[in-house]
Subunit: 259 residues, 2 copies
């Protein structure tokens, strides 16, 4: 531990610890080794199709012992943002995520919150959100993430980013992003852990949102060659990870060896 | 007539001559006066929720005697574009417009054509269009227009532009626009009329597509304070109409008085 640069490790979930319903080989053991080293850990996800409770249940089923309090989701960051600013949001979210937002006042909305609503992105729902933005004196568009698409079985499917872009164009507003790659999201995790950016590293499979976002927030980044990783990521003109590891276990080895 | 700068007048339909199912006060008489002046007239519309034949029928019901041959639609421009390039389009269009495209080969699509599909903008339809663009070697996205919204009764509703933007972001492509504000659309109208850009004026309620588009094509533009017009339009940083009129009748008076 004393030899390592990194006492704080932030970890993406989907594509790093599991893909679909399968844990990535070696991930369960590697997570146990990382915990045994005494480092501060936090799990950061932009997945917005289920509540944090449902996510924990899934992780436990996969053999990954992760507590709800260790996970920061783009959805809970959006929830906190809305509460802090006293907004009354029109929600464009997946029905499975609704329980996380049911405490909010959504009458006479003055803001729009967008997650990965999937089939919930209907014309009527988008039109209602657009009208809220056009009617507001100071339109507030809160996006959980800017992800363009995700691997959906053996096909690609639209994520929330394109629909956020549609509302930005329609109402001539700029969205505030609460999840990755927003620096505030990484900083909130560090604050919760009592860590500093200079001694923190993010492990992720999404070059732009995980690695680029972490680096812009002052952290280091380790890209894993699993999940949505593509060989092209290693030739990106701007985002250069501090390290590229074959998988999560190799990333943990690199960190434990000193980083 | 000899005193006027403008011998050619291009006119938007929805929001200028009518809103919803109601003619704008004075529009029927003003159109008759404009016709009586002997000027060349053409009606340019990005409305893509009905065929040209259905549009003429609606106009006649409203007391507006306009012939099919006087109307240029963004939909027919898209149809011509697809035919010329031999594309097989996935159609994201309103069901009422389908008859205008039923002659095209849409099997194994290699392009996407977007009109104002309204409620047809479902997640599944957009996802299918996205996948066509991602699978194509040279993805072709053909947009009938870039209109952000339209006046829908006493509310604003999303037009096709935001959905085109969503597909552009998702698949990282740039759309080709066939209707307003494309310069080619205005020039095709002038060619049909035998008019020149320097002596032509466009009357519209859409600052960006009608006025900005016309000006970039070398024409003048008169903005009317009806339809989707909003007070902010008069403070736009870039697009400055040659004239702003309270309504179509006032725009015609201005043109007949010399422009």
């Amino acid at each position: 531990m004393s030899e390592s640069r990194f006492d704080t490790v932030l970890i993406d979930l989907s594509g790093v610890l599991y893909v679909g319903d399968t844990p990535i080989a070696g991930a369960v053991d590697a997570l146990a080794r990382l915990r045994a080293s005494g480092r501060r850990l936090c799990f950061l996800t932009n997945t917005t199709r289920r509540t944090r409770a449902a996510l924990v249940q899934k992780l436990n089923t996969l053999g990954l012992a992760i507590a709800a309090g260790e996970i920061m989701t783009a959805a809970s960051a959006a929830h906190a943002y809305v509460l802090e600013d006293g907004l009354r949001p029109q929600l464009l979210i997946h029905p499975d995520l609704a329980p996380e937002f049911e405490d909010l006042d959504t009458h006479d909305p003055n803001a729009v919150v967008v997650g990965d609503a999937g089939a919930g992105f209907t014309y009527d729902a988008l039109n209602a959100a657009f009208r809220v933005l056009m009617a507001a004196d100071e339109p507030r568009l809160v996006a959980m993430g800017g992800n363009r698409y995700f691997a959906d079985g053996d096909q690609l499917s639209l994520d929330m980013g394109p629909f956020v872009a549609a509302l930005e164009v329609a109402a001539d507003v700029r969205a505030v992003t609460t999840g990755k790659p927003a620096a505030a999201f990484f900083h909130a995790a560090l604050r919760q852990l009592g860590g500093t950016a200079g001694s923190a590293v993010m492990i992720g499979d999404d070059l732009e949102n995980d690695i680029g976002g972490a680096q812009r927030a002052g952290l280091s980044g380790v890209l894993v060659r699993t999940g949505k990783y593509r060989a092209d990521d290693e030739r990106h003109p701007e985002v250069k990870p501090e390290h590229i590891a074959d998988d999560f276990a190799a990333a943990v080895d690199w960190i434990l060896a000193g980083g």
